[in-house]
């Protein structure tokens, strides 16, 4: 039985299986050499890891929600985001459709 949580995708076996190639590519970004190789030729790098067309399109568009829909796990996706100098407030803002400032204000408001 699945427990539905609004706006949340549980990274379960189905997601892990679906997202394996994408997450495996992102795992490779622990190495500076691999990050440079991705930046040098993104198409070739994605092809090497066998991304599905959905995953490739999601990476190309830099759209985090689409990457999650394609099985991406945020801990691995954060390594990809890091290549572009994006932190978790930046990707939080993108996923919620807010400006980074508005997203930060929302976080601060949660503490009051």
């Amino acid at each position: 039985m699945r427990h539905h949580i609004e706006g949340t995708t549980l990274f379960d076996g189905d997601q892990a299986q679906k997202g394996y190639a994408l997450n495996r590519m992102c795992f490779s970004f622990n190495s500076a050499e691999n990050r440079a190789a991705f930046l040098k030729d993104e198409d070739a790098y994605c092809a090497k890891y066998g991304l599905s067309s959905e995953q490739r399109a999601a990476v190309k568009s830099r759209n985090v929600l689409n990457m999650i829909a394609a099985g991406g796990n945020v801990y691995y996706l954060a390594k990809l985001a890091g290549i572009f100098g994006l932190n978790v407030q930046d990707i939080g803002a993108q996923q919620t459709g807010m400006s980074v400032e508005a997203f930060k204000a929302k976080l601060a408001a949660a503490g009051r």
Binding site: H3, I5, E6, G7, T8, T9, L10, F11, D12, G13, A16, Y20, N23, R24, C26, F27, F29, N30, S31, A32, R35, V64, L65, I68, N73, V74, Y75, Y76, L77, A78, K79, A81, G82, G85, N87, V88, Q89, I91, G92, Q95, T96, F103, K104, K106, L107, A108, A110, G111
Partner: protein, 285 residues
């Protein structure tokens, strides 16, 4: 005999590593968090633990999804950190204590925890940042890292993690060397990085967790993992590490210090310090 003298729960957000490297501890954004460690520093200076057992979750440095153990125990004499890919500085290594590791491993397996044993294990920010927070001069004791899967569901239950900690606590108590052991649980509290609910923080639930953890951790085992995701956020499930830490405190537990501050990065940041006194000595006194 070895004894567990206390426990620390602390957030391990990667941005903390950056703030430390850039010396931002006194900046207005960071001060409410870092100042919460003064009481911990004073207690550590007084108690001088010899070794630290750290319950944490790997974020894709040591483990990948190809082989992901639910529970894994380090059995090395050194643990290195490496580039994690998101721009935080690489930390210095931690020494290990393989003899204590194997003693804990033997105890866990005898207690029916079929854990993974690791003679090589990289430690990520979930271990190195708490060490840097507790020992800012870099002079931290040897560690035994215990990795709990909080990444790929199904995750172990709250009850199972509490029991894991209890088993570790019992094992430490039968280790023949005279060691003072600190147990640490890292991560949390409420936060969610992914999805349309990114930025979710739940102060009420965090407060309830901290209120219950010292005196009645059992009461928290009523939350299923999906309920924990709902109440603490998708990454708030790192509270499982805190449950294990608390489980390892098998004596009389008192909360000496608590700090809670929102937000650090996307996270409700918390620090707690528990003292663990042997029950038998308490009665005799």
């Amino acid at each position: 005999m070895a004894r567990v003298i206390g426990g620390v729960g602390t957030t391990h957000v990667p941005a903390i590593g950056k703030a430390i490297a850039e010396g931002k501890q006194k900046d207005p954004y960071w001060k409410p968090f870092f100042s919460g460690f003064g009481a911990v520093h004073r207690w550590l200076a007084r108690e001088q633990p010899d070794i630290v057992v750290v319950f944490s979750n790997d974020h894709g440095l040591n483990f990948f999804l190809d082989k992901l153990p639910t529970f894994a125990v380090g059995a090395a004499n050194e643990y290195r950190n490496e580039d994690e890919g998101w721009g935080i500085p690489v930390s210095r290594a931690a020494k290990g204590d393989a003899a204590l590791s194997w003693h804990i491993i033997n105890g866990l397996v005898a207690d029916s925890f079929d854990i993974t044993m690791c003679q090589e294990m990289l430690i990520d920010h979930a271990v190195t940042i708490p060490l840097q927070l507790m020992w800012p001069n870099g002079d931290w004791p040897a560690i035994v890292p215990v990795a709990i899967n909080t990444v790929q569901h199904p995750l172990p239950s709250m009850a199972r993690c509490l029991e894991l900690g209890r088993s570790v606590g019992r094992a430490i108590a039968t280790f023949p060397q005279d060691l003072k052991v600190l147990v640490v649980g890292t991560g949390g509290l409420s936060h969610q990085l992914d999805g349309k609910r990114a930025g979710f923080i739940n102060k009420d639930f965090d407060t309830l967790c901290m209120d219950q953890l010292s005196g009645d951790p059992e009461s928290l085992t009523r939350y299923s993992i999906p309920q924990l995701v709902e109440l603490a956020g998708a990454q708030g499930v790192e509270f499982l590490n805190w449950m294990a830490m608390r489980g390892a405190l098998t004596g009389t537990v008192s909360e000496l210090h608590r700090n809670y501050h929102v937000p650090i990065s996307n996270t409700a940041a918390a620090t707690v310090l528990y003292e663990n006194r042997p029950r038998v000595l308490r009665r005799a006194a």
